[in-house]
Symmetry: C2
Subunit: 439 residues, 2 copies
């Protein structure tokens, strides 16, 4: 009976057929040990010369690394561990593999990503991209259970949402158009028909920075909700993150173990309320506790500034839980956010970024949206955005405007945090960065 | 208590609060009838002047089409139908709406799609895009239950899979790159690590044809499976289509009713085996039964040709079930398909297109892939494709090649079939076509 390796535990004592690849092999002369993988999992196949026909043993000896094979054998369980083995009776060599380029020696990341098609067969990418799959599916399940409708916003867009320096231009039947940086404005039109929508697809950022945090092509989930204020918005985010983390812990134990991920903090956050800090409060704590080095002066710039990478990491380390940083100064935030003036006369946005602990940094950005037609139009004009391009967007405030909010979560940032890998390029099958669009 | 309209049946006899929009209104002098929608469903709110304070009745009278409102009332059930009403005690006008442009009179499609942001509030788009949501989620669930891993292939690609005339060019940091037409070749690399993968995202076709079947930006689901031959491939497809249709019938009864969709054939196909015809056999039946008019001659061209739109529709009409058309002449199919020579000496591909009945036309294309390194390399060279761009792809056959197959299903084509709408632009939130990339 043909089985997947992941189902081995259901077939102990039975003869099965496994089709897969040899990812490692060693021989003690009379026994060949074939380490097999089939995409669903890993198992060791033991070929004893005394137990099989000479041609079977010879086939096992010829099975080089990354050969494809069909192995017949009886499943046995390790006496102490939750591990299974195959006592082999048959070996069929399907596809040969000569001089497989990825070996046991250390390779640099450039080599591995030049050969990403092959590197995908290794255990780290296997574990990371299966966790990515789980995060994706948990998000899909969460929003369907919550009554959201999937709303695919366009990738090809005639205008930019905000900053035009980070746009990729596409030749659209001889007209310049742009690749989407965000579908948010479209989703805001979507909620006027569907109430609660989410949009989960690729977005593009022509960021000329070469850091371990940046991809040029990435996947974002944007949710938008009518009749939700910023408090309700953060509540949805917290429940969603808890659902994702809970599912990864539940379904990806093997993957987390392969990655050597300490799950103490992940387990804790599923059951504890997230931290909420106002932007001003967060800045005060960072200053008073001296959590960040190298701040030149605590002048106006300090209090009005965005959170730096170092500040985000420091706050994550301090609380060891996800932290909502709320109500940034409006001047450094997007035009569509709802604003208010705080008790010190500072204009603030009703927004929050969610900082993941363990150096996960910002994984979510969200806000309540300005629902007043006049205020939003003024903001567009004040920022010198082309008003005619925003007319359709302003319709959302012209005809039956409503209180509404939304947020976006970066899939790759979330996967990097959950897997603990160093560089974000590990979290997507074929990364696109400043220097790479191949293979 | 604040509820969604879709939950009305659980609150009969109770006072609830509903937030939404007025999509229609009429008055008999002493009673105002407000037709409400909130994205989850539709309900009629009855405001009787004798039952409410004068200012509440006045607010109801001022609630124009597409005003946003908060209505308090008691849910009652229609004595005979599965319909619910609200006996109103309170009306709060939230956002006004003056001269809403989409009225009860007929609008042409150009007007509706110029105002797609508003047209999305109408009942047809509501029903169609909720069915799209259901199809999407059923596909996600199906593949996860079957042990596939989601594998997001890159949108920005340095080369084309095949035909370069239909590519959109993107300026990628001053280098020309292309928007993905298909992620299939990447998915073939993916199965070498993950066994079974699927890829569900936007793809782009710069088709200069203006028909009701074509979009420039569309969503495709591509599945790829190691150790699957073409028979196993078609079996997965049939089970997936049955799952999708079964779920749409189960979860989208209201949407199908709004669209006036006759579901007789959909209900039938969930339980009946799909039809299988070889390409040659299909052509013979079309000829012998005279199913297609205007065929000039039944010469070699006829027997070697692709299926025309008319032929696809004729076969769907004849069988009233999905039809697999198998084993097209290799010459008109893609380079990566596995080939064989039939009993008449014709080189054929081990492939199948799945034709949906009721003018649904081709919704799936799939094939077994050529697994021989030499045969595949020869095909690339013979077709004058740039060999150096396919080196990484050939690695899938160089290191442990395996029998494998895959298929792609077009989301919009499937939704068009299931909803019965005339033009494919209805099946996506913001369609992109030869003439349109706005709003």
């Amino acid at each position: 009976m043909k089985i997947s390796i992941s189902h081995s535990s259901q077939h102990v004592g039975k003869e099965v057929v496994i089709q897969g690849w040899v990812y490692n092999t060693r021989s003690s002369g009379k026994i060949v040990f074939l380490q097999l993988r089939d995409g669903s999992g890993f198992i060791q196949a033991i070929v004893a010369s005394q137990a099989v026909a000479p041609e079977v043993f010879e086939a096992a000896q010829r099975a080089t690394i990354e050969s494809s094979v069909e192995i017949t054998g009886t499943v046995s369980k390790h006496p102490k561990k939750e591990e299974y083995e195959l006592q082999v009776s048959g070996v069929k060599l399907l596809g040969t593999s000569e001089e497989y380029p990825i070996g046991k020696k250390e390779h640099g990341p450039e080599f591995l990503f030049d050969n990403r098609d092959l590197y995908l067969r290794s255990q780290t990418p296997w574990a990371v991209l299966r966790i990515r799959d789980r995060v994706f599916f948990s998000i899909e399940q969460f929003f369907h259970e919550e009554g959201f409708v999937r709303f695919d916003t366009p990738i090809i867009q005639p205008t930019s949402c905000e900053d035009t320096t980070q746009l990729f231009t596409v030749d659209y039947y001889d007209e310049p158009n742009y690749l989407s940086q965000s579908g948010q404005l479209y989703s805001e039109a979507g909620i006027m028909g569907f109430g609660k929508v989410y949009d989960f697809g690729p977005v593009f950022r022509a960021e000329k920075s070469k850091t371990r945090h940046h991809l040029s092509e990435l996947w974002m989930m944007d949710a938008e909700m009518a009749f939700h204020d910023q408090t309700m918005n953060m509540d949805v985010q917290e429940r969603m993150v808890k659902r994702i983390v809970g599912d990864v812990l539940k379904y990806c134990a093997q993957e987390l173990a392969i990655l050597g991920r300490d799950t103490t903090i992940l387990q804790r956050l599923v059951n504890e309320p997230f931290v909420h800090l106002k932007h001003h409060e967060a800045k005060r704590i960072l200053k008073e506790e001296g959590l960040v080095s190298g701040v030149e002066s605590y002048d106006d710039t300090y209090w009005q500034d965005d959170m730096s990478t170092e500040e985000e990491i420091a706050l994550g380390n301090k609380y060891q839980l996800p932290v909502f940083i709320e109500d940034y100064p409006a001047a450094i935030k997007s035009f569509y956010m709802k604003k208010y003036t705080d008790e010190h006369g500072v204009l603030r946005a009703r927004c929050a970024d969610l900082i993941a602990p363990e150096e996960g940094r910002e994984i979510i950005g969200g806000s309540q949206r300005e629902e007043s037609y006049d205020a939003l139009k003024k903001e567009i004009v004040d920022r010198n955005y082309p008003l005619e391009e925003y007319e359709w967007y302003l319709n959302t405030r012209k005809y039956g405007t409503v209180t509404h909010s939304g947020f976006g979560i970066g899939l790759e940032r979330t996967v990097r945090w959950l897997t603990g890998v160093h560089h974000i390029r590990e979290t997507i099958a074929f990364p696109r960065t400043l220097n790479r669009s191949r293979p």
